[in-house]
Amino acid sequence: MKTVEEIKAAIVAAVPGAEVTIVPNPSPSAQTSLLIDPAHAFAIAEFLRDDEDLALDFLSNVTGVDWLDKEIAEKVKVTRQVEKPVEGGEPGQVQIVDETVEETHKHVEPGYLEAVYHLFSIAKKHGPVVLRMRTPNRTDKVELPSFTPVWRSAEFQEREVFDLFGIVFTGHPDLRRILMWDEFKDHPMRRDYVEPDDFEYEPTAHDEVLKRAQEHKAEVAAGEVEP
């Protein structure tokens, strides 16, 4: 089978303008994946399926991953010019010296939702080739192109990713919830998912559950939430 670098080169040659990045995998499994840009994803998928050498006709696994916003603290050395009194000189006499200070810069790397696809070839009996797509953020821009028209096996699995992670697959013929019920709100596999305050309390509540049950009762009594 071709290496990931060769597959990347083949994709870039076949789909003009496609952006493909190799995502390293330090694990001994050595399953390195390809990050593809959503704009060209559909063309890339069709190429991978129809190319004679690759013939990735079997989409085995589709899954979502939620990556939260990451706060990254970097220590940077900054050199500044400061005025300092001259030692042993007259009072008020200053000189300018360079001083190096260590400062911590914090910046937030925005989180994203990721869809991961594991492809195999039944014709050539090789694989897996791992594709990844990322959404711009986790809140409002959560759309990714659907691969269901290329590989039918994505139909139920993309529905599951939509249900549990909230990635909206454009071009999916039947994007509905699949495991949770239709009236359910929110996506329970997100890392920041908060359970709704409406669970059926245990008949003999204790510890955490008792605390939550009492809080819930108080909120209902205050009219803050519906019972």
Binding site: S153, F156, I178, L179
Partner: protein
Amino acid sequence: MSTTSTDLKNVTARLARSEKLEGWNRPPVIDVEGDSELLELAMGPHHPSTHGVFRMDVVLDGERVIRLKPVFGYLHRNHEQLAQTQSYLASMPYTDRLDYFCSLSNNWAYALAVEKLVGQEVPERAQYLRVILAELTRIQNHASTIGFLLQEMGASGTPLMYAFRERELILDLFESLTGSRMMCNYMRFGGCRVDASEAWLDGARKVVAALPKFIDEFENFLMSNEILMARCQGIGVLKPELAVNAGISGPMLRASGVNYDIRKVDHYGIYDRFKFRVPLGDHGDIFDRYMIRMLEMRESVSILEQALKEVPGGPVMDPKAKIRNFRPKAGEAYGRIEAPKGELGFYLISDGSPNPYRYRVRPPSLINLTVLEDMCLGSNVADVVLIFGSVDIVLGEVDR
């Protein structure tokens, strides 16, 4: 329940026409004649034939199915989320509950994925034990599936009881080795939990020696049965192109004539050491799916005979395997095996902490249901039960 031959011809002609329009990637839309009145029927969630809590929303034109949507999730307990909140090893018993007929296959698939993630070796003896247990699991799963299929065909009880009689012997073996009949929780990352005694291996040899007789008997009773042929042949056809495109795996894929067995392709474990054939179907109908399972049982018996002959000594657990404070380095791995129902895969992402960052099960039962509608369209409502039965699903794995 039977339609006249002209009716069938009409349906096939219409199916062929709509397929040309829609392409084989989408279920064909069947147009309804004239002023027929359509009936919407919910088959399930409480229906004896649905193998658990599962619903099919069917639209019928007379007896003919013109739309079918599977509805599931009644057993959803967010198995994946549960696994992400606890250590890697703590999820092992939960994998038993995915496909509760084949807990040992599930154990192996999960252990394989984690072993790939950390680069863990497995000792010889454990490899042999894994193969023996996985093939015994396959035999009891296939026998029960055939039993259930016959049950749905109206042979109430008898074939199922024959299958369960044999299954009971295999479950006794599981119980004496692992302590549990169905929730075995036996494999570990880098081997197996306990060693099998010589007495256990002898017991297994005895059970395996009696299996060909059971399969012969089972096949004799069923093969020439006229009702079985009439109800199974040419019904619920799945074409190989669609099967591959829809990610179908396991006996269902091979019944459509696609030669793909992960035991042969990946050679995971020590499957490259055994001689066995991969049975393939011609037509991809219910009969082929039934027949493939019969033949696969025979191949499994042959693997078992080879494996039981030469079980080596030694430890069943890699002494270097890390058990306490198990924290895989950051990275990811996808491991898969040929489970009795199809390709069972586990996808794990580690961020270096004791819990998996992402734990995903690739459930063959769920993905094999993708084509349920395609197989059922145009057939009688009575056949839907059989087509569904021939897919062989367990709701514990579909819903997770």
